[in-house]
């Protein structure tokens, strides 16, 4: 099997590490070779944060580069656009519709490009946009945006629902298992 690439993009503090941990767990349990590249340190302080996941029979590089991603999961609208070039032709963006203003927008030095997703759609990029924040709040915490989006992603995989749930149980702290299962379910059933 050819190596597949998934990119998780967000704003520091939104929980991209947990999303990649869950994805990693599921894919390891499925027997794939896998590499996950994370970012720690300075960029976590509210900066643009990106995580790469690659899996297949044999994975060498831990990073996804331009034109290599099958999926781009984004926790924020313009972060989806920032990393859209990483997608293969035919790759899919799954994004939260939440807007989080970066500092240059807050200070008025730059404009927030409101219509950026429409522009990408017009160029032929397949985008699955959802208000993951509201679903996360329904599940019990705004912090569960990451897992809601994982639920949406899971629909594209031929992996049993129960296997995702057991990976959640293996990944998150016991007291947050129910919350995250609920968030995953809301993401998984979104649009159905």
């Amino acid at each position: 099997m050819e190596t597949k690439g998934i990119v998780i993009a967000g704003v520091g503090g939104q929980g991209s590490l947990l999303a990649s941990k869950l994805l990693g767990k599921v894919l390891v349990n499925e027997g794939y070779d896998i590499k996950v590249s994370e970012v720690h340190g300075m960029s976590q302080r509210g900066g643009s944060v990106i995580t790469y996941v690659r899996y297949g029979d044999k994975v060498y590089s831990p990073v996804v580069q331009s034109g290599e991603a099958d999926f781009l999961i984004s926790f924020e609208r313009i972060e989806a656009a920032r990393y859209a070039h990483l997608l293969k032709i035919g790759g899919i963006i799954i994004t939260n519709t939440q807007r989080i203003d970066p500092m240059p927008v807050i200070t008025g030095a730059a404009e927030y490009p409101e219509a950026i997703l429409d522009e990408l759609t017009a160029k032929g990029v397949q985008i699955e946009a959802m208000d993951a924040l509201t679903l996360a709040e329904q599940a019990g915490s705004a912090k569960a945006v990451n897992i809601v989006l994982m639920g949406q992603l899971a629909k594209h995989f031929h992996i049993d629902y129960d296997k995702w749930i057991s990976a959640i149980e293996q990944t998150v702290k016991p007291k947050f298992v129910e919350l995250n299962k609920k968030a995953f379910e809301l993401g998984y059933n979104f649009g159905k």
């Binding site: 590499k35 300075m42 509210g46 972060e79 070039h85």
Partner: protein, 591 residues
């Protein structure tokens, strides 16, 4: 058991399985998790030392006493620990001693991108470089064997993409070697000239033996494929090369990057038409090849700047880029920022408002340099704020003393600020030092330090009192302020700048991300009171923005620190929603 681990966790697992008994480190991205994961094994004694030099010397002491010991640090940390390293090369070890050092090509979280391999060459010690998590574990164990077999400290070089990349690791058992009896051995361990002179030939002979080892070591692996192109590489670059070429080229994959083999390189050179060296940062392997008369293509094709990837390597070889789609509209950058409620913000606002020159240091507070606060004038290395301020004031000869300060964090102050402060007291500069005490090592992800009262396991520990310490270092004027209280903070800064003696202001408020710091209710803006003066925007708080011409607070981010509330001249910001009585009558509201 097979587990997915980041490289740093795999190094920690390797240290554990190798039977390490003592680990002393100072946190630094991307090395921090090595020691954090090691501390989860109860069989290993782990600690955060005040700095890397102390850490390496503690590891030396443990080795001297006959157990396997290790320390971990980031690349610039090895600058701090370079002093013990160079002479440890002469003494050698008793129990195995491994120094893990993590480089940061691309500077994800560093002030430079120096190449640690120069230290291995300079100190004449072996250095291993893993290329994935499985190798991280295996090489950590092998490093101890090499350390003990060749009587040397052994460096284990990591880089960001190995340290923070997860891949599959097969775990094994922990085997603890028998503790060696302590024997006094002055000729080996007292590096006074008479002894050191005799140890230097040992070091040179050891390098000769290590070079022999490099020729036959399994970790220096020749993977023969197509013979048009040969590549010599190591670490993450090996993975990128395999990604681009698979088995279509021949690769010499070096697991040991110092000393480098000679025959193995010549063997590959003799079998391929063109030989390339693919290495991030400096042309270390390339220089070696040229020294041994092997013609290679290196830095003329592969930049010394930043990180590589399969994309950059493919491009260097002239391969076409992959097809992709991009947006035409410019996307605003999203740089890291100080968090909502960050206690540093109040102090930086005061310094910025009063147009004070600020010598900065290494930590989260480096973010105070960003707009709109733009409060910093310099950032060099750990501790340089205090020592630099002293020199600045001496050179300014009195004119700058009333408008120049330095800022340094609590952990950074313990790391290398104390000696600078002693210099201010001893050599008498009229300097104002601000210690930003957020009661944790922040930027690296909340590690304890000697001022927090807790050790690496979170157990209570001796808490060093910063006020007492500053007094003991010879500073008469030491005062504490709460940076959430802007009035008090501004008063303290002005007063301490005005006095004609050295002084310390401790700006104390725990990091807002600490678990025990409970966020308060978010504040809100009363749009009718807001006159759009944008004074609150000068704080650079990610929770405050302008919406429909009025200040507006993102209540999902705001932690209710109240600094903007203090600042608002029109009393428009507060914790309560405006009551009906305060709202203008409906008839007055413009439709």
């Amino acid at each position: 058991m097979k587990e997915l681990m980041i490289g740093n966790a795999a190094v920690a697992r390797g240290l554990y399985e190798a039977g390490v008994e003592v680990i002393s480190s100072y946190p630094g991205t991307p090395s921090t998790e090595i020691t954090e994961f090691a501390a989860t094994y109860d069989d290993i004694y782990c600690e955060w030392a005040p700095n890397e030099k102390v850490a390496m010397e503690a590891a030396f002491g443990a080795s001297l006493r006959g157990v396997r010991a290790a320390c971990a640090m980031k690349h610039v940390g090895l600058n701090v620990a370079a002093d013990p390293l160079f002479t440890l090369s002469y003494t050698g070890v008793t129990g195995g001693l491994v120094v893990c050092v993590a480089d940061d090509p691309g500077m994800h979280s560093s002030q430079n991108e120096q190449d640690s391999r120069h230290y291995a060459i300079g100190a004449k010690v072996p250095m291993l470089e893993p290329a994935d998590s499985a190798e991280c574990k295996a090489f950590a164990k092998l490093a101890f064997e090499i350390s003990e077999q060749f009587d040397t400290p052994c460096l284990l070089r990591m880089c960001t993409r190995i340290a923070h990349a997860q891949s599959v690791v097969e775990t094994g058992e922990r085997i603890v070697p028998e503790k060696k009896p302590y024997e006094k051995n002055p000729q080996k361990f007292i590096m006074a000239p008479a002894n050191a002179i005799r140890r230097h030939p040992f070091v040179e002979e050891r390098m000769r033996k290590l070079t022999e080892y490099a020729e036959t070591a399994e970790i220096n692996r020749l993977e023969m494929g197509g013979t048009d192109i040969g590549i010599i590489t190591s670490g993450a670059c090996y993975q990128y090369c395999k990604e681009v070429f698979g088995d279509s080229v021949s690769i010499l994959k070096l697991g040991m990057v110092n000393p480098l083999p000679v025959q193995k390189i010549k063997e590959l050179a003799s079998k391929v038409k063109k030989l390339y060296v693919v290495e991030e940062l400096d042309g270390v392997i390339e220089s070696h090849c040229r020294n041994i008369g092997v013609d290679v293509i290196g830095k003329e094709l592969f930049t010394p700047l930043g990180e590589f990837s399969q994309k950059s390597i493919a491009a260097a070889f002239g391969l076409a880029p992959k097809e992709t789609i991009t947006a035409d509209t410019a996307i605003p950058v999203r740089p890291p920022v100080m968090c909502s409620g960050c206690p540093h913000r109040g102090m930086f606002y005061v310094l910025s408002k009063n147009k004070i020159t600020v010598l900065g240091d290494i930590g989260c507070y480096t973010l105070g340099s960003a707009a709109p606060l733009t409060a910093l004038d310099s950032t060099l290395c750990m501790g340089a704020s205090i020592s630099g301020l002293h020199g600045y004031n001496k050179a300014a000869g009195g004119e700058a003393e009333d408008k120049t300060v330095c800022v340094i964090g609590d952990s950074t102050f313990m790391h290398s600020g104390m000696t600078g402060l002693a210099n201010i007291a001893y050599n008498g500069s009229n300097s104002t030092v601000i210690i930003l005490d957020n009661s944790i090592t922040g930027m690296t992800g909340h590690q304890q330090n000697p001022t927090t009262g807790f050790n690496i396991k979170g157990d209570p520990a001796t808490k060093i009192n910063l006020e007492d310490l500053c007094h003991a270092l010879g500073i008469g004027r030491v005062r504490v302020v709460d940076p959430y209280n802007l009035e008090e903070t501004e008063k303290a800064v002005k007063e301490e700048l005005a006095v004609h003696e050295p002084s310390v202001i401790i700006s104390r408020r725990p990091c807002v991300l600490l678990k025990y710091v409970k966020p308060k209710k978010p504040v809100m803006v009363d749009p009718d009171k807001c006159r759009s003066c944008k004074r609150c925007m000068k704080l650079g708080c990610p929770s405050i923005r302008m919406k429909d011409g009025k200040a507006n607070i993102d209540t999902t981010l705001c932690v209710g620190c109240g600094v903007c509330e203090e600042l608002c001249p029109f009393d428009a910001i507060g914790h309560e929603e405006p009551t009906m009585a305060e709202l203008p009558p409906a008839s007055c509201v413009q439709q």
